[in-house]
Amino acid sequence: MTTYPVRFLLNGTPVEVDVAAQDTLLETLRNKLWATEVKNGCGKGDCGCCAVLLDGRAVNSCLTLAVQANGKEVVTVKGLGNEDDPHPLQESFIRKGAIQCGFCTAGMIVSAKSLLDENPRPSPDEIREAVSGNLCRCTGYKKIIEAISDAAPKCSPSD
């Protein structure tokens, strides 16, 4: 099988991986780079739990070919913060009870981050719009919207 070497920055670290033409970024992140925080929920762009930032914009990694990430920057929820230095969005999701099963959370936070980078003080309606590609089956969305609202003033563009 023909494979293609792909290099990109994953959460700030350069990675290099050989992929087939049709391999998606999602499969590659999960199965070759062990970035399993990126979830596989539908494989066709219907649920948003595979969302990552691709050059700063939230996209479905299941709809992006791995080869198309070549030379770009990919950020997952783990690239936003960690135990020692969580991102304000992560803190708010924890504190506001915005997480139940947690399977949508990684994608949800990525979409929220993409929003806040463009619009630092979004209205609740703008937040609802921004996460409208991220399905959640547990929470009814209320606490997710609240958590993003709550995090907004605490975020700086560098976060």
């Binding site: 979830k39 539908c42 494989g43 099963c101 399977f103 990684a106 936070i109 929470t139 606490k143």
Partner: protein, 763 residues
């Protein structure tokens, strides 16, 4: 009557219980650290794949696996003949034997397929792509059969027989209370209608997945997202192994809602790892998940309800028919819930219920949040509004005149032993909607509705349900809980931590819960039936109190005080009236350890146990207790396009005691929006058994732009039978949302819609 157990009520909450603390699993989930079932890998791991039937009904004439076996990288191909015990009976997660509910359960189709998506063969291969290719290379020679897809057709003489039994009727339950003829004769107003509700898909965001391997002791280990780790016994039965040779370890689950209650990937994984002696992983695609797992039962419900001029309910007659789909699974249980719940939270002297569930060649139906109650709730709550209209009473007033109160008997003759919050909940839910929205256009009509329900928590009492929990103090003063609960995302693990922390005077951060491992955690039963907080919460509370007792006894010795005068909080034991006399918890723990005093306890909580009810008359206690509540909704209906916009939703429930108010709200908010999806847009569409909605492009659930902020009102009566007087809310939170919305639409457009989803009727 066995004594009632309220194991935690003598310990009023102080520090931890009752507070909206972040759940113990939240941080790892937010940071992306939590591993779910598909996130595990083992060296040498194979990938499993199921070949599924494309026919809904067909004979299998032959299966030729030779080409698949020849494909390079294929390690195993299995069909029904390779399964040691391919046919077993459904007895899922049960420890007490009750007759009359079992159905055939078949691992792989043999000679006949009964629904589209039924497993026909298994493959294990080096890569997912090879496994898929191998599945394609298996030649199955089918002879299509006509099949039967409508439960009424299936009941007719001469109908296609779905299974091997002589009839497609799975079971038939009755309730007979009073004299129905007399009841209608005494009624001034009678309403009658037939209601239809569709298949509903759980649509958890995590598809089914698991990983199995054989460990150094020859034990088959299966790590899987399941609501029932106790399936290990059924899995062992299939393989013909003793029960201690199969271990199921549950992962953090990406949503269950009943859909991960039946066995999914685990038997397939066990078979493939047993055959290949290698680790095997299997993950369903979304399409596979939707096609092959059980759904909420569609029901056709004919209701007739009579009341006096004064609005007193006199008689209710209901005929329920549910579509069980192709295998029995949990249909008899679900039907029993519907039967017992068919008359709702109302006092009605004359009741007659006839309930049947029927096999068809549709996708099988099984457990789904609410378990047969949302269907009947939609029907009886529609009847209430139809009656209210005829009686010129407000929907609230009619209900208020008929709600069951504590001490009154349900249609099945069970006298309510605890506070029944219906009147209070209904008023508060409606009030929470605030001022009525004004329409901005003549084409848009605004309407409001309510839906009330009583929903059980805890399993049926004739199942003699039990749960166990281990609570132990570590030498550093931290607390370990071991409990076989499965955490679906509802906070099942965290609430145990909160309870143990409260009783042992430590913080949540110092409490660790190990869950869901049949080898290492005490068996705690299924995470279903809104039972874990009630059952395992009580068991954890009992165990924690035993440990607490030992600690206080020792501390009393050290402090020279009576144990009863001591207070334990924030890691310090002190004399209540003289806090200057205190000792750190750590010191007491070490003192106990030195003097051989036990620092752990395993407690077993037994739910009240009763004998099986009589299904000819349906009289007796079926459930340990109920949760009462009401949903209220305000909608805007565009009468020109049929589009329904939900403007407001409120949910008011008596939760007994909110162990974690934020988590309880989360349940109410999520359940309500799931109920909103059921009301408005969710519909698994089958055409002669073939799924036309196999992905989230066709099967639509609410997005953030469809949902509204659910206004939650928690009533805390303290009169539940869970720890600290808590009741369960997981399932109740969904049950009455759909009828509230349907009644709001009725209010808006002046006519009721008897079928769900409501939007389907417009389009």
């Amino acid at each position: 009557m066995p004594e009632k157990q309220h194991p935690a009520n003598d310990h009023p909450p102080v520090d931890v219980v009752g507070r909206s603390l972040p759940r113990c699993d939240a941080a790892d989930k937010a940071l992306g650290n939590t591993k779910y079932a598909e996130d595990y890998f083992l060296p040498g791991m194979l990938y499993g794949k199921v070949l599924r039937s494309e026919h809904a009904a067909a004979k299998i004439l032959s299966i030729d696996t030779r080409n698949a076996e020849k494909l390079s990288g294929v390690r195993a191909v299995m069909t029904a003949k390779d399964v040691p015990h391919n046919e077993t009976i459904t007895r899922f997660g049960q420890t007490h034997t009750v007759g009359g509910f079992e159905g055939l359960y078949r691992i792989l189709a043999d000679k006949k397929v009964r629904f589209m998506g039924e497993g026909v063969a298994l493959v294990a291969a080096d890569t997912p792509a090879i496994a898929e290719e191998a599945a394609r290379l298996i030649r199955v020679d089918y002879q299509p059969l006509p099949g039967v897809f409508d439960p009424f057709e299936a009941l007719k003489r001469g109908a296609h027989r779905v299974g091997e039994e002589s009839s497609n009727l799975v079971c038939y339950y009755k309730v007979r209370q009073g004299d129905i003829t007399e009841g209608f004769a005494a009624s001034d107003v009678i309403v009658k209608n037939t209601y239809r509700v569709p298949f509903q898909e759980h649509a958890y965001i995590e598809p089914e997945a698991g990983l199995a391997w054989i460990d150094d002791d020859g034990v088959i280990n299966i790590q899987v997202c399941t609501q029932v780790i106790e399936h290990y016994r059924e899995i062992a039965d299939v393989l013909g192994l003793s029960y201690n040779k199969v271990r199921v370890k549950g992962t953090w689950i990406g949503g269950g809602f009943g859909g991960k209650e039946d066995i999914t990937v685990e038997t397939y994984l066990a078979l493939l790892t047993w055959k290949t002696k290698r680790p095997v992983k299997m993950a369903y695609s979304r399409e596979e998940s939707i096609i092959c797992h059980g759904k909420r039962h569609p029901y056709i419900m004919t209701y007739k309800t009579g009341a006096t001029r004064e609005g007193k309910l006199m008689a209710l007659e209901a005929k329920l028919v549910s579509d069980a789909g192709a295998y029995v699974y949990l249909s008899p249980w679900v039907l029993l819930y519907s039967t017992v719940g068919a008359a709702g939270p109302y006092k009605i002297p004359h009741v007659k219920i006839d309930a049947r569930t029927v096999l068809t060649n549709n996708t099988f139906s099984s457990a789904f949040r609410g378990f047969g109650v949302p269907q009947v709730c939609f029907a009886y709550e529609s009847q209430m509004d139809e009656l209210a209209e005829r009686l010129h009473l407000s929907p609230l007033e009619l209900r208020r005149r008929n709600y069951l109160r504590k001490g009154e008997a349900t249609a099945t003759g069970y006298v309510l032993e605890h506070y029944a919050a219906s009147p209070e909940a209904a008023e508060k839910a409606l009030e929470a909607l605030g001022e009525k929205t004004k329409s901005k256009s003549p084409a848009v009509k605004i309407g409001r509705g309510i839906g009330s329900s009583m929903t059980s928590y805890g399993r049926m009492v004739f199942l003699h349900d039990t749960s166990r929990s281990y609570v132990g103090m570590e030498l550093d003063g931290s607390v370990t809980v071991r409990c076989g609960v499965q955490d679906l995302g509802g906070g099942q693990a965290s609430s145990l931590a909160q309870i143990a922390a409260e009783i042992l005077g430590v913080s949540m951060a110092d409490t660790r819960v190990f869950i869901a491992d049949t080898a290492l955690t005490p068996i705690a039963g299924t995470t279903t039936a809104t039972r874990q907080l009630y059952m395992s919460g009580n068991a954890t509370s009992m165990a924690a109190k035993e440990v607490r007792k030992n600690l206080l006894d020792k501390a009393g010795e050290i402090l020279g005080a009576e144990p009863g005068d001591l207070d334990l909080r924030d890691g310090i034991i002190s004399v209540m009236n003289d806090p200057s006399r205190s000792v750190p918890l750590n010191t007491v723990v070490r003192a106990c350890a030195s003097s051989g005093i036990s620092l752990f306890h395993i407690a077993q909580f037994n739910a009240p146990a009763r004998e099986l009810v009589d299904f000819k008359k349906g009289q007796g206690q079926v459930f340990p207790d109920f949760t009462f509540g009401t949903h209220a909704a305000e909608v805007a209906v565009d009468v020109e396009t049929g589009k329904i916009d939900v403007l407001k939703l409120a949910a008011c429930f008596d939760v007994g005691k909110a162990i974690n108010p934020q988590a309880v709200e989360g349940q109410l908010e999520g359940g309500t929006i799931q109920g909103m999806g059921y009301a408005l847009l969710e519909d698994v569409i089958l055409d002669k058994g073939i799924t036309l909605t196999p992905s989230f492009s066709e099967y639509l659930i609410p997005t953030s732009l469809d949902a509204v902020d659910v206004r939650c009102i928690l009533i805390e009566s303290g009169d539940g039978i869970g720890p600290f007087g808590a009741k369960g809310v997981g399932e109740p939170s969904l049950v009455s949302a759909a009828p509230a919305l349907a009644n709001a639409v009725r209010d808006a457009i002046g006519a009721g819609i008897p079928d769900l989803p409501l939007t389907r009727n417009a389009s």
